[in-house]
Symmetry: C2
Subunit: 564 residues, 2 copies
Amino acid sequence: VKAEVVAAHRARLDEATHACRTREGWSPFPELPGRYPDAESAQAAGRAAFEARLGRPFHFTPLLPGAAAPEAARHEVSPYTREPLGIAYPMPAIDALFAAAEAALPRWADAAPEQRLDLLMAVVDRLYTDHLFELVYAVMHTAGQSFNMAYAGSGVNALDRAIEALVHARSAMAAVPRQARWERHFGSTRIALDKTWRLVPRGVAVCFACASFPTWNAWPSMMASLATGNAVIVKPHPATVLPMAITVQVFRTLLAEAGFHPDLVTMALDTPEAPLGQALVKHPACAIVDFTGSTRFGQWVERNAHPALAYTETAGLNTVVLHSFPDEAAFDAALRSLATTASLFSAQMCTSPQNLYVAPEGVRVGAHSLPFEAVGERYAAALAELARDPRRAAMILATIQSEATLALVQQMADECARAGRVLLAPGRYVHPEFPQARTCTPLVAALGTEARALYGEERFGPISFVIRAADPLAEATRDVREFGGLTAFLYADDEAVIARAEALYARAGAQLTINLAGPMPLNFAAAYSDYHVTGLNPAGNATLTDLAFVAARFRIVQSRRPAA
Amino acid sequence: VKAEVVAAHRARLDEATHACRTREGWSPFPELPGRYPDAESAQAAGRAAFEARLGRPFHFTPLLPGAAAPEAARHEVSPYTREPLGIAYPMPAIDALFAAAEAALPRWADAAPEQRLDLLMAVVDRLYTDHLFELVYAVMHTAGQSFNMAYAGSGVNALDRAIEALVHARSAMAAVPRQARWERHFGSTRIALDKTWRLVPRGVAVCFACASFPTWNAWPSMMASLATGNAVIVKPHPATVLPMAITVQVFRTLLAEAGFHPDLVTMALDTPEAPLGQALVKHPACAIVDFTGSTRFGQWVERNAHPALAYTETAGLNTVVLHSFPDEAAFDAALRSLATTASLFSAQMCTSPQNLYVAPEGVRVGAHSLPFEAVGERYAAALAELARDPRRAAMILATIQSEATLALVQQMADECARAGRVLLAPGRYVHPEFPQARTCTPLVAALGTEARALYGEERFGPISFVIRAADPLAEATRDVREFGGLTAFLYADDEAVIARAEALYARAGAQLTINLAGPMPLNFAAAYSDYHVTGLNPAGNATLTDLAFVAARFRIVQSRRPAA
């Protein structure tokens, strides 16, 4: 049976490798929760597993090194119920985590890459088979995502990203031969050397997960480090611990089952009052840092991680340029798609659009021009329509992860009222299932470019700016270059404009989606196909997933001796 | 004819790609100067070309941007004649170089990777066909290498390293598809997107070349940056300008011939009194830094290059562990090889062995033990023997590049006399062809581990320490981990010792050569086969050449739109 399982995992990794080459649509997982095998009972079991975690200590097996009694994670509060999850976690001393990881490393480093890949594919399978719905509920009640988004974005798509990282790690390692016979003449003597190469991991990696979307970046980062032989210490956000604790436990279980030391994967935990981030990054044993989170700490990591490698995804402002449409129907369809995408998880995604750039003369729709003011009003109306029905709002907007985001939305509304015109004031909708849920309906404001200080950074949450700009494309791409940006969206019924946009966004380094409408979220980034983050602007330096994301996580050491 | 030339270059790159896979011995170039086509007249023509450069301004065609009248490079003095070369070079303002490079970039960035590779293979061919011996003399009279080493190490081997970088750049770029059709269902709607990917260069790279071995690192670095679409500003050491100026001119000529802007490759020049290094690295347009040189500035680069990428090769102490030999003949052969290798170019190579570790009980030779003292004395005698014959010394030791190195050797001799025992005092030999040449015969000293402050760093120049260590392998690898090291050499007639050494050096990150004797220099690093620098210790972070050396020099930007 075991050999069959391994063979199935290898076949799946081969399929994923093929998908990364063709970049056509592929996933081994059903996209919709209803298509999960035996969905209803799996969901019920996952919910029960999640609920069984609440109000008690989370016990890692085996115990984490250096951990005293578990401490309550006071900042882990459900955005749906507004009640603390009440879970206590061990908070080990970080020296103990690094020491344990280093002690566990040599056997893992010496294992054949295929053996590590087999085990990590088994982790993917275990997360999917035994923990997916438990994770879905854990993500809902920490990050605040909707059930559907937690299943797709934080579940199966994140698993796809994890497999994709394994594909690239395998490819980078396969590029290095393990042995060779080398021959050459020196004078009249023929020298023959037998050479062998070892792939040596960097050491201990630290993986920071963010509060609103923990698994999607953390899983591929962990896989990239582990596949190449490193150990990983996970540092979740104090508000979103449970999804990563479950993750860490699954890795530990499978490592132990395979005879490796479970301390290859551990978890450090801190509080907002006593953050551990800098100490983890500057620890002498820290060799790799993966960071997803705030621009501020991300840039500190990039500047200070040395000699550790730093892979970051921080934040940026995602831009929309509205130029022209063939007809009213196309304009309406685009606005609906934009409104839905900007509302998804209340724009708490690194790919959510924020800034819409429109020329002072407005947008061309068919033979007519729609004035700047009317464009903004129509967009605000589309957003308002989405938020009107609580059932729909619950599915799309979901909840607000942090109290600070609510405060920011209100502050932005006040500032926009002074600097421009508020087209849609933020409010609250009552979640049909969780009346206490922390919710917020979108703010939309119309601004001129003189208000760049307002819109010239990521404003986390359901906030959209409609910006009057003489040259919308130039302005949008300038903002991306300067402030960062991951995604970009263009609507233009003019191939010359499209070509110019492709050139300008290529230079600015944002992934561009053109003239898309319909049921696909505009910011959907498909594993095996869409590259995520370019590294060409301040929104992060690491791409999910290219060779650069994996190739430096291991090094090559050589031994050579005269051939026998 | 042109198509044939391109086809020949592509065939050569394919052969090189194959060699990088098999890592067997291969080179398109003859290793010995005598085997160069029509060697005698080529050498004479190269010498004449070199001599025609002396005592006059070096004119780049077209002129470098932002350059005023050329200024004499006062620090460019032949280590052979001790006379200034008298060449004046333009010293452009670095803002002008960056601006010109940025202006030249877009067309180069937009060119197909194959077109860039064709052109860069033509540069390799032009350097080899039209400038090799001119470069050989330029290296001799700046770096101070022997004619043979300048031909091999700074000539054909460096060209091999350049091709090898192109192989890896091609491979990393080929891993990214340029277009795809992606399809997936969202609900009942099938979404089909046409996706295109552009490889976008980082921008302007700065390549620092070192004084003693400029081309071997700079050529592959330049190739890696240019192949992936970047521009390069070369910053030679003020004492070794000419080899890089000729290099830059060849790139400029071929770029212009192909219709690209020559300012894609330019040269910045400074003086020791007014160094430009920090300003180049911290320039807002600097996107990549390749640095070969001092540990001190290299570590500054690694810490401060952000947001630019940094690729460094600095320095380390290269270790030799003498454990056991099957018989006297093997011991003698090893000592001769070690003495030759440690004398090559007076140990002014980053791969030169420096520290020999011997147990207090000495070395086992056959059934007997040779005491620690006797090992040191025999090694010193082998070095003295090499330096005794000026003709041989000229071929092997060549000259000392810098006056500072002479001073260091004397200072080390004084300190070693106090801290331990000088086994061979440094002196001077008279070069048969250049009686004024700056020469130095090796210093050998025996020390205990209490003198770690003396031997615990690279001491640049003909300096060897024989170190009494209770556990030579543990001590040597500890020193490598702490202070850096590129190469390592082990002599052991015991497979258990060899296995332990391989494990310890793999962890320390030095490339290990075991039980080698004979005519091949022990530190010879063959392109297409030997990986150079692991990045696992402080001796540098970049490997010639692995995927990590090239994969992050370009980024991937995507555009997607509904399929027609």
